[in-house]
């Protein structure tokens, strides 16, 4: 996944209301209309529509064409990329410890392996 797309996904996920909308869509077997999505929130339908636009741009949801209802559904691929990203934290640490090991070798004037 391109970094730009991942940034877009993260930006979309940065808002708790949008995350709650996604959680709602993940729970639901079917497409959900704006009105249904707006119900649990202290927000207007217009405000929820705005959030849906952000989620749609980030590829996290798709929306039906039906003019009035425009039902939303969850797209799983970007969420999987986020999960992968979290696992990359481990890789960041592994790389960091590789460099620490090399630094310790340099200080001690040793040659050879990484550990």
């Amino acid at each position: 996944m391109e970094t730009d797309q991942l940034s877009l996904t993260f930006a979309a996920l940065a808002d708790p209301t949008r995350r709650a909308i996604l959680a709602r869509l993940a729970d639901d077997d079917d497409e959900v209309t704006v009105n249904e999505l707006a119900q649990p929130f202290p927000l207007s339908v217009q405000a929820v529509s705005k959030h849906l636009k952000v989620l749609e741009r980030a590829g996290l949801i798709t929306r039906g064409r039906a003019a009035q209802r425009r039902p939303s559904r969850l797209e799983s691929a970007p969420l999987r990329d986020v999960a992968d990203w979290l696992e990359r934290y481990r890789e960041i640490w592994e790389g960091r410890l590789d460099r620490l090991a090399r630094r310790l070798e340099d200080i001690q004037g040793k040659a050879g392996g990484n550990e």
């Binding site: 993260f10 930006a11 996920l13 940065a14 708790p16 209301t17 995350r19 709650a20 996604l22 959680a23 993940a26 077997d29 079917d30 497409e31 649990p40 929130f41 559904r73 969850l74 799983s76 969420l79 999987r80 986020v82 999960a83 979290l86 696992e87 934290y89 481990r90 960041i92 640490w93 592994e94 790389g95 960091r96 410890l97 460099r99 620490l100 090991a101 090399r102 630094r103 310790l104 070798e105 200080i107 001690q108 040793k110 550990e115």
Partner: protein, 152 residues
């Protein structure tokens, strides 16, 4: 609903054995001059002038990482446990990612004898709760099922 949104924990544990005496490993981990040389992460730098350590419990632990594109990522936090040369912990109150609210890292320096040291790094992240099930393997298949369901 949004104000009921809860954060959850995600923990990773990484162990590494190093060919260096424990006191040296401690120093390289806690001296900003040294930290600037290895902290990274990959393709990032952590310039010496952007590291501020006040190495005592509650003392400041600030590191700004600079990405390959020059973008700066501030990590501001405090040291928790400072027990040279055995245990160190530091908490981050700000992170570079909107989904990760904060994190706490504990490092154990275990003397293996013969000038060898084992590090155990435990990094606990407080994340948006949806990230946790997503991070678990089961979630992908769950979403796959959902996809099939939606497609059908």
């Amino acid at each position: 609903m949004s104000d009921q949104f809860e954060m959850a924990e995600h923990t990773i544990v990484i162990e590494r054995e190093l060919d260096a005496p424990r006191e040296l490993v401690w120093r390289v981990w806690t001296d900003p001059d040294e930290v600037a040389r290895w902290w990274g992460p990959e393709h990032f730098t952590t310039p010496r002038e952007k590291i501020e350590f006040d190495l005592r419990p509650g003392g400041a632990c600030r590191m700004t990482m600079v990405g390959p594109d020059g973008v700066e990522y501030a990590n501001d936090g405090h040291f928790g446990i400072v027990e040279p040369p055995e245990r160190l912990s530091f908490a981050q109150e700000t992170t570079d990612n909107p989904m990760i609210e904060s994190g706490e890292t504990t490092v154990e320096f275990i003397d293996l004898g013969g000038a060898r040291t084992k590090l155990v790094v435990t990094s606990r992240m407080i994340c948006a709760e949806e990230l946790i099930p997503m991070a678990h393997a089961g979630w992908s298949s769950q979403l796959d099922k959902l996809e099939v369901l939606l497609a059908g």
